[in-house]
């Protein structure tokens, strides 16, 4: 039985290039009207642009399906969830839903900082659609799950961010909907808590209820969802078995431009002393893999033109996390080069970096001290997660995930007498 049937839903936004945000002031409207009198029609039209956040999306979801939704930022995933949760309406199309639906687009929606934990449980529960009797019934379980017994009568503004998130999720976890919609809530909270959340979501999915789950954590999607939707630029381009969709998605992700290349020396970046020819990331795929995961070794290949005879040069590479922390800086030894092309390779072993997004910058240094040219954010690449023989799917902590010699054995047997 289909519990959700969506037919040709589209959502259009008008992007107004003159204004930065959705709300406008009367002054804008009035001055626009004045401008229009003097401007030609075409000029005015160019400032407004239609943007289809979703375009002709149709699907059916059966009862008990656990749907993972994958796609890049801006692919339309969140818009779809917002439409399904009735927060915004589609521009065209129709969706029919059967069953009590609850959506969790944020943890702790409507929490009021001045109210106590106890008051916020009732407030948030009611906002999520729980009846007062249901909240009362689950009250102890919620408090227990969140671990906030001692702080029940403290205003939540005094809570640590961890406690806040735990309480928010605990309430949501005790909703009892037939269809549950969850958006990337696992991105918050500590590992211990994420583990708890995933466990709770597995319970939901195993009890035959329908789940829609948006996440960038593909491991979690693979663990929880039997089917997946793949969105790209507002269109549902593929749907089906999760393993198939995730593989398809990952192979497209890794074919992003991982190479920068300039054919002619005069339009290459650089200066009178050096100019960059190319910078390229080459993965050494093993086991017929088509995407970079934590096991994949990669090579960074670098080529530049040296224009000063006998310059003493070396290359220096920085690797940053997406949030900007430097993980390492490595450099080649310095040596003298003649005029012409110079190239270098840096090999990054597999089983070294953790999963995540990384940014590489490359520097050419003269006489080990003067930076001739620094190419910031030269390449950006993603490393996907891979695990074997584990039942835990939370985010693996740390920036690196090396395989070290780490052994364990029984050192003594306790002899019973």
């Amino acid at each position: 039985m289909s519990v959700i049937v969506a037919e040709n839903i589209s959502k259009k936004y008008i992007i107004d290039h003159q204004r930065k945000n959705g709300s406008s002031s009367l002054k804008d409207i009035v001055s626009d009207k004045f401008d229009n009198i003097f401007k030609s029609k075409t000029q005015n039209d160019s400032s407004k642009e239609e943007f289809w956040a979703l375009k002709d999306v149709s699907f059916k979801i059966d009862q008990g399906d656990r749907i993972g939704i994958v796609g890049h930022n801006g692919a339309g995933k969140s818009t779809l969830l917002k439409i399904l949760s009735r927060i915004t309406e589609p521009s065209t199309g129709e969706i029919r839903i059967q069953g009590r639906i609850a959506s969790l687009l944020e943890v702790g929606t409507g929490f009021h900082p001045e109210l106590t934990g106890r008051e916020n449980i009732f407030l948030n529960g009611a906002i999520l659609g729980m009846a007062k009797s249901e909240i009362k019934q689950s009250f102890d379980a919620i408090v227990d799950f969140a671990g906030v017994e001692k702080f029940l009568d403290t205003p939540v503004k005094r809570y640590s961010s961890g406690m806040y998130v735990r309480l928010g999720f605990a309430i949501a976890a005790h909703l009892n909907p037939e269809i549950l919609i969850v958006d990337e809530v696992l991105a918050v909270g500590d590992t211990e808590f994420q583990k708890k959340c995933l466990g709770k979501m597995r319970d939901v999915s195993e009890s035959g209820r329908t789940l829609l789950f948006v996440s960038h954590n593909l491991t979690a999607i693979q663990a929880l969802c039997n089917k997946s939707f793949y969105f790209e630029k507002g269109r549902l381009i593929d749907q089906g078995d999760t393993t198939h969709i995730v593989t398809n998605y990952l192979s497209k992700v890794s074919h992003k431009s991982l190479e920068k290349h300039w054919d002619h020396i005069h339009d290459a970046p650089g200066n009178d002393e050096v100019r960059i020819k190319s910078f390229k990331l080459t993965p050494d795929f093993q086991d017929n893999l088509s995407h970079i995961d934590v096991r994949t070794p990669v090579d960074f290949e670098f080529e530049f033109w040296n224009m000063v005879e006998g310059a003493n040069l070396n290359l220096s590479m920085h690797l940053y996390t997406f949030t900007g922390e430097c993980i390492f800086n490595v450099g080649t030894p310095s040596q003298a080069f003649g005029k012409g092309l110079v190239k270098g390779v840096c090999q990054l072993p597999g089983n070294f970096l953790n999963d995540g997004s990384y940014v590489v910058s490359m520097m050419i240094v003269k006489d080990t001290s003067t930076v001739l040219y620094n190419m910031e954010e030269a390449l950006i690449f993603d490393i996907e997660d891979y695990r074997e023989n584990v039942t835990w799917y939370g985010k693996w902590p740390g920036y690196i995930r090396p395989q070290l010699n780490f052994s364990i054995q029984q050192s003594e047997h306790l002899v019973n007498d």
Binding site: T109, H112, E119
Partner: protein, 275 residues
């Protein structure tokens, strides 16, 4: 929460009012939230609700009665006339302002969860109503101080309170929608409330407008009938009240409320796109 729903463009679901009714617990909880948040972290707490009307009344008595020598209706102490008008005017002004801001104040909810959006303006009335009850208590206390007898007209009081509520909801809903679209409205509202107080018989009796060229326009203001009527309930027949003025009040309030509801319902599903 309804079980079977259809989502489509412009889909004002036919079950909207049923959905609203099913969400009445949420209405109560949101009202309770507003009331309990109101005075948290204030030093004097609820005392503000007592102090504010008293202080406003004192200032008005000084300015209008002592300095400007405005007369009240014969047989009615000026402070009581001001306080009765002030009580119902403040109720209107507070609920109107709160309704107008209700969607923006709750924008975090609007963008993250669905419920009939009408709950937000409705729940924002609660705080104004509590303040009204307190001000009403002060008024009763002052009538005892001035030894002014209470009138039997008091039984009509709920009618006037209800009428005030309908009027503020009608105008408030309209501005609530506009406020989401144009942030200028937020600046305009306090100004409208300030001007409105002088356009209404709060500090003076509407007998002052009698016989002037603008009298017929003056009575078009739906609040004139309400304030006069409210005063008549509290202070008895000595207070000036022309029941005919209620006709324009009733017509204007009902029409405005009807139109505002249609406008609100038409726009509520796209609030999030402007927040």
């Amino acid at each position: 929460m309804l079980h079977n729903i259809t989502i489509k463009a412009g889909g004002s679901e036919k079950d909207y009012w049923k959905d609203l009714w099913l969400n009445r617990q949420l209405l109560l909880i949101l009202s309770k939230r507003d009331i309990s948040v109101r005075y948290k972290q204030t030093l004097l707490g609820v005392a503000w609700s007592v102090l504010r009307p008293l202080m406003t009344m004192t200032v008005m008595v000084f300015v209008f009665s002592y300095l400007a020598k405005i007369k009240s209706d014969p047989g009615i102490p000026y402070p009581l006339m001001v306080l009765s008008g002030l009580t119902i005017w403040t109720f209107f002004a507070n609920t109107f302002t709160q309704i107008s801001n209700s969607i923006l104040i709750n924008s975090n909810l609007v963008s993250k969860v669905y419920f009939p959006r009408l709950l937000m303006p409705l729940s924002s009335i609660a705080v104004g109503f509590v303040d009204f009850l307190i001000a009403f208590g002060i008024f009763l206390f002052l009538t005892a101080v001035f030894q002014h007898p209470l009138s039997i007209n008091l039984i009509y009081l709920p009618f006037f309170v209800l009428l005030t509520f309908t009027t503020s909801l009608g105008f408030g809903l309209f501005f609530a929608v506009l406020n989401v679209r144009f942030r200028d409205i937020g600046q305009l509202i306090p100004f409208m409330v300030q001007v409105g107080m002088y356009a209404c018989p709060v500090a003076y009796s509407s007998t002052l407008a009698q016989g002037t060229w603008f009298e017929k326009y003056y009575n078009l203001n739906p609040l004139v009938g309400i304030i006069d009527g409210f005063r008549w309930c509290l202070l008895g027949d000595k207070a000036y009240f022309n029941p005919a003025s209620l006709i324009s009040t009733a017509i204007i309030s009902t029409v405005v409320l009807g139109l505002s509801l249609i406008y609100f319902r038409k726009k509520e599903n796209s609030f999030v796109d402007h927040i």
